[in-house]
Symmetry: C2
Subunit: 200 residues, 2 copies
């Protein structure tokens, strides 16, 4: 069985964008299976009394992050445009991703959401935007949006968010291995994949 890496992502998280865009090809090259685990950073942030992103709470930190992300995307040839609103409400996108990850289009949807948010300046809390993303993937949005609002999917996202907290995840992107290692941030993506493969 191929080794597996769990990829914990929040669509509101800036560095999850390059991590998501880099993941598929790096994982394939390393022979690693990826489980995409959308969750919400809101609850862990609230647990430490942050009402918004620390990048908004701490001004210098935020300024440095945006510049760093811009340089990083340029290095990776990823289109980048700083969103007007940050952090975005990622609830709807996360629920839709959970629907898609149960079938075939979840991974591609995740990439498309990050691209819409950080390259095209679109807002994720707008069902029309999410519908456009689905349409571009040739997925009929009506039944998907209905399913995304079902009790089952709502519970699945809460469950996944609780699991992230239980694992000690307090940032995105994070990566966890079957043997209990936790790696935080896009910077650690290569290291996490190597650990998943070699067990150290």
């Amino acid at each position: 069985m191929a080794p597996v890496l769990d990829f914990w992502l929040d669509f509101a998280s800036t560095y999850s964008y390059p991590a998501m865009m880099r993941m598929a090809s790096l994982a394939q090259a390393g022979g690693i299976g990826v489980r995409y685990r959308p969750f919400l950073l809101g609850p862990p942030f609230k647990a430490q009394s942050w009402e918004t992103s620390p990048f908004n709470l701490y001004v210098a930190k935020g300024r440095n992050m945006w510049r760093d992300l811009e340089r990083l995307c340029s290095d990776l040839n990823l289109p980048f445009r700083r969103p007007e609103l940050f952090p975005q409400n990622s609830l709807l996108a996360a629920r839709v991703a959970l629907v898609g990850l149960r079938v075939t289009w979840g991974e591609e949807f995740c990439r498309a959401v990050f691209r819409a948010e950080f390259a095209e300046g679109r807002q994720l809390d707008d069902a029309g935007v999410v519908g456009d993303i689905l349409a571009a993937l040739n997925v009929a949005s009506g039944p998907v949006l209905e399913s995304a609002r079902s009790d089952e999917i709502k519970a699945a996202l809460r469950q996944q968010t609780s699991e992230a907290q239980w694992l000690g995840i307090d940032g995105a992107s994070s990566f966890t291995t079957a043997d209990g290692e936790l790696f935080w941030s896009n910077n650690r993506l290569e290291r996490a994949l190597a650990w998943a493969r070699d067990g150290r």
Copy 2:
């Protein structure tokens, strides 16, 4: 003239340890001159109402950092032992480093301080420990410690710390280039050196 990178380090900072140990050979390979700039993170932390390291304030963040640092040091073949006290009071070591950086032994002193702290479990606020480090470098500690407590050196450290804040530095290690770029963390060391050399 060789391009220059400013390396802002606080001896209390965990990831400054691998950054310091990696810097000299990477900079030399890239033909970059390094200005070592010890400063204190205390004032910027206080400015955002942190009375101690965020790694202590946020438990999951701290646990993840220590494990990440342990893995990182193992990957780099750097000895590592988690200090009993964290963060340490880095005031004396920073002042002594400023003395040494005006002459010949400053850079080697910086490496030795990080090694004492993160590999040997020694405490930096102890003048005896700092004296031992100096002795191992064949530097007579008496006049150095006296100089480190002079008004001139005290003022130089305050000045350097103010300059760091003015540059928007809110973490260590940080790297700044002549054209005004700021890179944060050991993860960005290679990128910062490349920017210093190529200007983008």
